[in-house]
Amino acid sequence: MSARSKRMHRWSGWLFVSPWLLGLALLFVYPFVASLIWSFTEYDLLTSPRFVGIDHYERIVREIIQGKGFGKALWNTFYYAAVSIPLSIMLAIGLAVMLNWKVRGQAFFRTLFYLPSMVPMVASSILWLWLLDPRDGMVNGLLGFVYETPPLWFQGIQEGMSFSSPLQFGSKDGLTLMSLWGVGNFMLIYLAALGDVDASLYQAAELDGAGWLRKFRYITLPMLSPIIFFNLILGIIQSVQAFTQVYIVSEGTGQPAEASLLISLQLFLTAFRDLEMGYASAIAWVLFVVLALATWGLFRSSRNWVHYRGVRM
């Protein structure tokens, strides 16, 4: 290649990525800096921002201690993540293992299992809002045979399930149920990974007299561990970002009793209902730092339990 065309080459590289560069500046760098600055100000969109120092961050610490506002939303999100992520990982692996069975109609079943994941979140929220209606909902219609007082689901005011009232499902449990229904994406990823597991490993284990449980524990699970790890990280991000379903099942309020006020909705309401842009920016930054720390911690711990074939990370 001539020197001239090489120079052209370099120049054209920047030209090709220029749409994204513009996006980086407008949609990431500027907002990143602006929200950090605004988090130290009082800002209602109508008048210009007024510097208030670390007031907002103090308020966040106070609310976490008191368990109100941001603290309450953080707890709700934690509860939702702690229940829904492990359950959805188990369900996705379970379904993938089933789909990996050598039976007739495999592709057909895969399509059926995945179908709920194609239902738009708005439609599935409307659907589950009806199915989980405490009075007329089909789910309580079925549970009615078991329960004396059927669960209130999205109209429940309790924090979460407790020892004094087990199985009195509340709004966060309803959201969990919804997330389990739409577990198809990770199911497909696990299924693809199961297909990559070397069959000779199972044969060797069978020769050693291992049953299905031992094979699952010592071959399948380690082979899936990189994806479980990926699922865990994405699950945390998705719990923090869960918005559409939370908004719809509580009609955009997080009520009753702020039981379904997850962190995304709380942030949205603080910004666009209360017009407290400064405080909302501070919340966003605290969330960002918490998420980054959680991700970093998981990466650190992953060395002990995530098994990468051949390469150590």
């Binding site: 290649m1 065309s5 370099r10 054209s12 590289g13 090709f16 990525v17 749409p19 994204w20 980086l24 407008l26 907002p31 990143f32 602006a34 929200s35 605004w38 089933m98 789909l99 069975w101 039976v103 007739r104 109609g105 079943f109 399509t111 059926l112 299992f113 709920p116 194609m118 239902v119 738009p120 979140m121 708005v122 439609a123 409307i126 659907l127 589950w128 009806w130 007329d136 089909m138 229904w181 990770f186 497909l188 990823i189 299924l191 693809a192 990974a193 923090v240 559409t244 908004y247 719809i248 009609e251 995304s264 942030l267 949205f268 910004a271 842009m277 966003a284 969330l287 960002f288 998420l291």
Partner: protein, 272 residues
């Protein structure tokens, strides 16, 4: 494996898929039930009489056609923007060598980890000041500026195309843009279709975008328009379900038509 266990497996699969499909069936059944049945006998499974007028009524009470038109505009423009911008940027990262490429690519991956919360408010202020508030353009514009995840997927695909093809085209006097447009893009159809499908679904389903940026009913896409009726039609389950079916059906059909591209795209996500 004996024949017996095969039967049990099939039975288990049937039961589980039944459980997964049940909510969809209930939605479909409720959408053709008479309104009275849903209130007087909420736990009954089958409709007393098939009432297809529910769909017609839903179309009339919810400005379905208007919302649908907005959704189509939103989807078509967003898919175009995504495919054009992401393929260009991916080409720049995959098939041209330039100084700073590695650093910029690391930054690109980094933006994937940034939660949208941090950027939401300043973006809103910026778009409002650009006069985009209450315009679909506020939701469409970002798709023309590339998306890190799609760029990453397309880059992986472009990297798998042999470099000799580009060299030969260069010798024939094709410009860099010519190679991208006439050689690489046609070779990458499967990957482009996957990205287009993902964006189509994302735009069809998008709720927070319209919630943030649109205030005028005449501009609402379906996802947001439908939500508006949840509170006002809370006791009209039959209409809500009919509208939900009409909103869901296009996605289900799309999935059946393009199942291969979806599955490939999703499994690619997991193999990094």
């Amino acid at each position: 494996m004996n024949k017996h266990s095969g039967k049990w497996k099939l039975l288990t699969l049937l039961c589980v898929s039944g459980l997964f499909l049940l909510p969809l069936f209930l939605m479909l059944l409720a959408s053709v039930k008479p309104a009275e049945q849903l209130t007087s006998d909420p736990y009954s499974l089958l409709p007393e009489s098939l009432r297809l007028q529910n769909y017609q009524e839903a179309l009339q009470s919810i400005a379905y056609v208007k919302y649908l038109a907005n959704s189509i505009v939103l989807c078509v423009c967003s898919v175009m923007g995504t495919v054009i911008s992401c393929s260009m940027v991916a080409y720049g990262f995959a098939r041209i060598e330039w100084r700073g490429r590695k650093v910029m690519f690391a930054i690109l991956i980094g933006t994937m980890l940034l939660p949208w919360h941090v950027t939401m408010i300043p973006r809103f202020v910026l778009f409002s000041e650009l006069g985009l508030y209450n315009h679909l353009a506020a939701i469409i514009l970002p798709t023309f500026l590339g998306d890190a995840f799609y760029i990453f997927l397309l880059r992986q695909f472009f990297l798998s195309i042999p470099e000799e093809i580009s060299e030969a085209a260069r010798l024939d006097g094709l410009s860099e843009f010519g190679i991208y447009w006439r050689i690489i893009l046609p070779l990458s159809k499967p990957a482009l279709v996957t990205v287009a499908m993902f964006q189509l679904v994302a735009s069809w389903n998008d709720f927070s975008g319209p919630l943030l940026y649109l205030s005028d009913h005449a501009k609402f896409p379906l996802a947001y328009g439908l939500e508006q009726f949840v509170s006002s039609y809370a006791d009209q389950t039959h209409l809500l379900m009919a509208a939900s079916v009409m909103f869901t059906l296009p996605m289900v059909i799309l999935f059946f038509v393009a199942q291969k591209s979806f599955t490939r795209g999703i499994t690619m996500t997991g193999s990094k």
